[in-house]
């Protein structure tokens, strides 16, 4: 069972992601939320047992590309998987996210299937 951190500037999107996690019947123990990268880092500081991060890319204050880079300063890819959930999914953006340390990505709009596929290797 994993503790999941969802980072997205849209409260609507965070709710949609939570619902899809439930629908996908993934083994999620608890869900924490943050509205941008700075809040995400703060949440991670308070809850070091977070086992998976799902992060948007386009956010105010600290975007997802910077956020993943910051997280990787203290948490290696193998220990804390990060999956980007983005509206863009362009080649350049995906390459940047992966080279900054993301483990995978999903494009919005998504289905429970695409979420399940993207997260299957990280949570059961």
């Amino acid at each position: 069972m994993a503790k999941v951190l969802i980072v997205d500037d849209s409260a609507t999107m965070r709710k949609i992601i939570m619902r899809v996690l439930r629908q996908a019947e993934l083994k999620v123990e608890d869900v924490l939320e943050a509205g941008n990268g700075i809040e995400g880092l703060a949440a991670l500081g308070k809850a070091p047992d977070i086992g998976l991060i799902l992060s948007d890319v386009n956010m105010p204050q600290m975007n997802g590309l910077e956020f993943v880079k910051k997280v990787r300063e203290a948490h290696p890819k193998e220990k804390l998987p990060m999956v980007m959930i983005t509206t863009e999914g362009g080649e350049a953006m995906v390459q940047q996210a992966m080279s900054n340390g993301a483990n995978g990505y999903v494009t919005k709009p998504f289905t429970p299937e695409s979420i399940r596929t993207a997260l299957a290797g990280f949570i059961g």
Binding site: T12, T87, E88, G90, E91, A92, M93, K108
Partner: protein, 172 residues
């Protein structure tokens, strides 16, 4: 001096906009009753025909836009009547028609709707190589009349209307 940027035709723009709207709403909400006809120009109200073929005008009360910038620049704009905005928010959140939502929740949902449509449009048509930049959603409660080239599609929702629009800036 000639402008070397090829601007897509209005028909091409509307086709990609239609496909983008379809992709977003087919996987997130199911509230679209019918796609109404394309309006020529947007103002602060939209016109569409009801089921008896009578032309009705719906006011636009709320607007969410996401700008894009690359070899083309412009905005994806989602404009709704108050009822339409509530309907879209409920649809995205999979809530039934009796659930009421607070204004910030409705505005956030409309912003995310503009965000997703612009993302699909960018990925599918405008910017397959991924070099465009998308802005953050902006919400306006006092919509302005449209003066830019582009296109709009007006949809009848189960309650209210939504106008999905694409505006291009004159010079990128």
């Amino acid at each position: 001096m000639s402008n070397s940027t090829h601007l897509p035709s209005r028909e091409e723009l509307l086709d990609v906009l239609r496909a983008s709207v379809h992709e977003v709403f087919s996987s997130t909400v199911t509230t679209f009753k019918q796609a109404a006809q394309v309006s020529q120009q947007g103002e602060i109200a939209v016109a569409l025909e009801d089921e008896n073929g009578v032309r009705v005008t719906a006011s636009i009360d709320l607007e969410a836009s996401v700008s894009f910038k690359g070899s083309l620049a412009g905005s994806v704009v989602v404009r709704c009547s108050a009822q339409g905005a509530m309907d879209i928010a409920r649809g995205l959140l999979m809530l039934d028609a009796t659930t009421s939502l607070a204004v910030p929740e409705i505005e956030d949902a409309l912003g995310e709707c503009a965000n997703m449509v612009s993302g699909v449009l960018k990925r599918r048509a405008l910017d397959p190589r991924g070099t465009f930049e998308l802005g953050l959603p902006e919400i306006r409660r006092v919509p302005k009349a449209i003066g830019k080239p582009g296109g709009m599609l007006v949809y009848q929702l189960s309650e209210g209307v939504v106008s999905m629009e694409l505006w291009l800036d004159e010079s990128p």
